[in-house]
Amino acid sequence: MATAGAYTVVASDAGGGHVARRLGAAAGARRWRRAHEQQAAVKARWRCGCCACASDRHGLRASGGAGGLEQRAPPPLRPSLLSPSPPARPSPPPPSEPDHSSPSDTISAQIHHALTGQQPSAHLPLSPSASSLSTLSAASTSAPPIHADSREELFRACLRTPTVDVDELRRLVWAHGIPPAPWARPLAWHLLTAYLPPDRLDWQPTLAVKRANYWSHVANLSVDPTERPVTGDHPLSDAHDSQWKQYFDDCQLRVCIRRDVERTHPDLHSFAPLRDALERILFVYVKLHPTLGYKQGMNELAAPFLLTFADTRVKDLSDVEADAYFCFDSIMIEMVSCYEPCNSDVTGIARQLRELQALLRIKDPALERHFEKLGIDTRFYGLRWIRLWLMHEFHVPDCLCLWDSFLTSELRLPWIRYVCVAMVIRIRERLLVEDFAGCMKLLLNYPPCDVSELLRIADRLRTSNVIIVRTARR
């Protein structure tokens, strides 16, 4: 394990300081798992009472400030730091309150909870990290943690305005994480993926249109000539426009998708009822993007949205499915390149992996040389990390915390590369004494860690000219 002083950092801050706080990630994961297993047993409700991901996550400052890292919690919230608006942000009632009449409507419930605070907030005392050991993630210990309720209040304030300042929302998520209240993450993700427009008046109409749009795709993209035979068409037809041909191709596609859907979060009972929804989402996506086709890994990128959105007070899953589709579609705009065929080193995932290698070379030349000597290539470990946004590397609650930070960036891949480099650097001491097989096993079975610490290291690597220059053994 990397321990205090285990490696030396040469840093000249290019952008400054950093407010960091951590959450009880491991405890959060256990709570989450327990909550979800109970949920599966009951199978009656779609929301766990206290957000499973109650782990009170990292806090990362976006930019600016004065050098150095502060450990654990930021000082009691100073809105002026977070927002260009006055500290006591005026919170006038919105001109038109959304209709809360339908309790089954996810977004109505979310809006209601967000604005009225009537949802009992899952109050989790923040537990400052005891494991921020390395220089990179070190910070002061003096600042008291922000109370979960305060964070929730900040979120409410941000979301209460008639036009949500999405940049401020990004800053809030970045600095303090998403509050544990069940409404918070779904709503934040809707806004961060631009599925919901900033203007709150447009929320309901947008949702109505998009959800209807999704379900019309579901209906229209499936052909079944057994029910409505077409004159002149027949099951053996190979014609391009043959419905029978399309029908058989679709059957094959569904088999392909289903095989991976069955293998998506197989250990998570709460995901079982979401499998049909995931299959439809992937089917619609592939039908609307025929040149890309279905690629393994897409299932892992769509599943977190379903998991997150279904984790609210919802009775009707159809809205959850439609919402998840559009958010998945939104992140795929950037991720398509990582799934497209690449037969050269300068495009697609191969390019991402080269850039990852280059970043590692800059940030930790000794480790990169060690890898080069052993023949370890980013294609061996980075491909899965990048394509899946680390979904295979950590427990789901930790992954969702990582995704919070990924989604705050408009371009996610550059930030994800920093997180990947942080992962490697975090275990560099172990890697440096391992042979090829030992390194591969470590990288492909990444040891459990505090993801907020990872994010702190990644942020430190990004915002300053940090270079790991030598190893100081214990």
């Binding site: 293998r263 393994q296 050269s344 023949g375 295979h392 591969m440």
Partner: protein, 214 residues
Amino acid sequence: MARSDDEYDYLFKVVLIGDAGVGKSNLLSRFTRNEFSLESKSTIGVEFATRSIQCEGKIIKAQIWDTAGQERYRAITSAYYRGAVGALLVYDITKKDSFDNVQRWLKELKDHADANIVIMLVGNKSDLQHLKAVTTDDASAFAESNGLSFIETSALDNSNVEEAFRSILSEIYRLGSKKALEKGSTSNFAPNATQTIVINPPADEGKTEKAKCC
């Protein structure tokens, strides 16, 4: 540092290839950890594990690379095949398509792997005899006509898994011995090993004195 249990005489890289869902990952986990899971995730990129076995008094360390069934992009797969001396080409005995695609996988190996790679055709999921869609005779005849060895396995009930890996490793060893493998080379993949023979070092290695089996 190199641990004592990492001492070995020969280091062989073996890749597991075949269509998605034929059970490659479970063959790997059954052989290296004696584990099987019905709830395994799809492989993205590559998985990796090692196990050492005894063969004719020598310790052979197998480095097994389990590749994603859908990964066909040359820029990626070339790294997985590089240096491989053996390939288990796996199909699912209950899925005719996966057997039909064996020809494509052979071409993939021909295009990207070393010309002398030892290939074994593996019909997995033999526990599902009632769903069998590829007969043993057909597969055996295909293997024979293509110069491959052949075995049917079940990672679930652990039948023939050990035999499949042992058989291909022995074959690689025998072929290597015939070519009078030079002992004492070091491997790009195992810098700590002093008793390693690399059969096919990476093409870009550029060093001399490397033993080659072929």
